[in-house]
Symmetry: C3
Subunit: 203 residues, 3 copies
């Protein structure tokens, strides 16, 4: 049950991030193979950094046919149906928000398996969710979006905190995770809709 839930959110998050990576690559006019590589990097980058830091090597996606297949499908969907997908103006954003929530909780779960403290687990979750996008932006020669414009890593941290708060109650873990994921998506939606960003309290 636990494993199934982990597998499902892994597949969904991987697909979402692969599409977002492909779109970013297509915006920079990369060739199709470059688009596929950016799909991979965005989808597995955060998890790979996490696994390297935790010493989980060889990294799992090397032998995970599901992950590889899902990423290729995501890249192909963006390449062949991208002009359709992009006409839906919120598509890229929703994919990204869902992936963000899903990957944060996967990262927290991996941190828990390593018996790390709650604060560090939230950091590991944030790395899992955000560093695929950071590597994508670095490869495409942009300052990573997450450092600059929007509530992004902040949403992951908030979702992580809420997850640990909910787990203080005798609450079903899957329910707590679902609430945390939805909260992360919600924060992203509200932040974009109302153009929230963290206040810069320095000059």
């Amino acid at each position: 049950m636990q494993l199934n839930f982990l597998t499902i959110i892994d597949v969904l998050g991987t697909f979402a991030f692969a599409v977002s990576g492909a779109f970013a690559a297509m915006d920079k006019k990369l060739d199709p193979l470059g688009v596929i590589i950016l799909s991979f990097v965005t989808a597995i980058g955060g998890g790979t950094v996490r696994d390297l830091l935790l010493g989980n090597t060889p990294v799992t996606w090397l032998t995970n046919t599901t992950t590889i297949t899902v990423i290729l499908i995501g890249a192909a969907a963006a390449l062949f149906f991208g002009s359709i997908l992009k006409k839906l103006p919120t598509t890229l954003f929703i994919f990204d928000a869902v992936g963000l929530g899903l990957f944060t909780l996967i990262g927290i779960e991996k941190g828990n398996l390593h018996q790390l403290s709650a604060g560090v687990c939230i950091a590991v979750g944030t790395i899992t969710a955000c560093f695929g996008g950071v590597i994508r932006d670095v490869l495409l020669n942009n300052v990573p979006l997450i450092f600059k414009k929007e509530i992004y890593a902040t949403a992951c941290i908030a979702g992580g905190l809420v997850y640990y708060l909910l787990m203080q109650w005798p609450l079903n873990e899957m329910l707590a995770k679902t609430i945390a994921i939805l909260l992360i998506v919600l924060i992203r939606v509200v932040a974009i809709k109302y153009k929230f960003s963290l206040p810069k309290f320095y000059k």
Copy 2:
């Protein structure tokens, strides 16, 4: 025999990539130590990413005097005889193409040692061959060339496929590798000569 072949192509590929890294650094007017560092990063970057992903740590070049010596010779050759080498307009390109072919096959061999599937081994070979150049370009603040302009990673993938096809026959492995390497070099030469690139079939 097998080991010797691996050692020789390792030395040749390392030298080729060190020179190409040094040239890229000199184009950006780095100081001599920066040139040497870029030689190292380009030559060992792809293999290091591969070893980190596969969990082959400590990475081998830390204790491999041959590799370190070859890279320093490559950097010195570029620094002291670069003006001569650059007058031969195809020098940088041929070095790069040979390194590309050699490193792809080294990566595939390492993947085979980890008993990974053929598809993943080809990906590991492509990472070995291309990611030194990716890190070089990222450090020099360029969008990595391989994502954009030319048949590059494509050549590695094609060479890898041909290697696995040839191994279906009862063929000498060294011969199969040599053919695959030559094919990768050939694809690169043809792609540059006739300005081939992957068609962008999206808008």
Copy 3:
């Protein structure tokens, strides 16, 4: 005693690099969370690359409350008292120079624990000291400073060489380390004051 000395220079170096990372992030107008992330990346980036290369995983800062606390204090100091700190024009520079010296010697010590040769230990020390700054510059979309403008990695290498020379004498190790650290700081101060840089002997 040895351990204490290592701990103290670790804390000082971490604080120095966290502040320098925060200042660099604030120069690029990152949001406060981005500033904190850049503080982390700058402070632990070099040590993390070293630990990944040496296979020291899980990396230690994940479970090191002291390091995390020191970085957060450094980031907060830069965010809240940055306008004061920046009025002292040499503040950022001195922090950076001290961190550079301290981290070089920590890296050399880790290399020695892995029984690597002196030359490789100096490289490991230089990576420890410089790669946090390299990752900082890559994330902020700059060509890493150390490759270009100033005597930087050169100072680390010189300090490392002097350390190994001093250890040929029956000298107290802590004294040898202190001298090497002070030398690195001195080289940086002299290089900046007199605008030294490595001669570009190529065209």
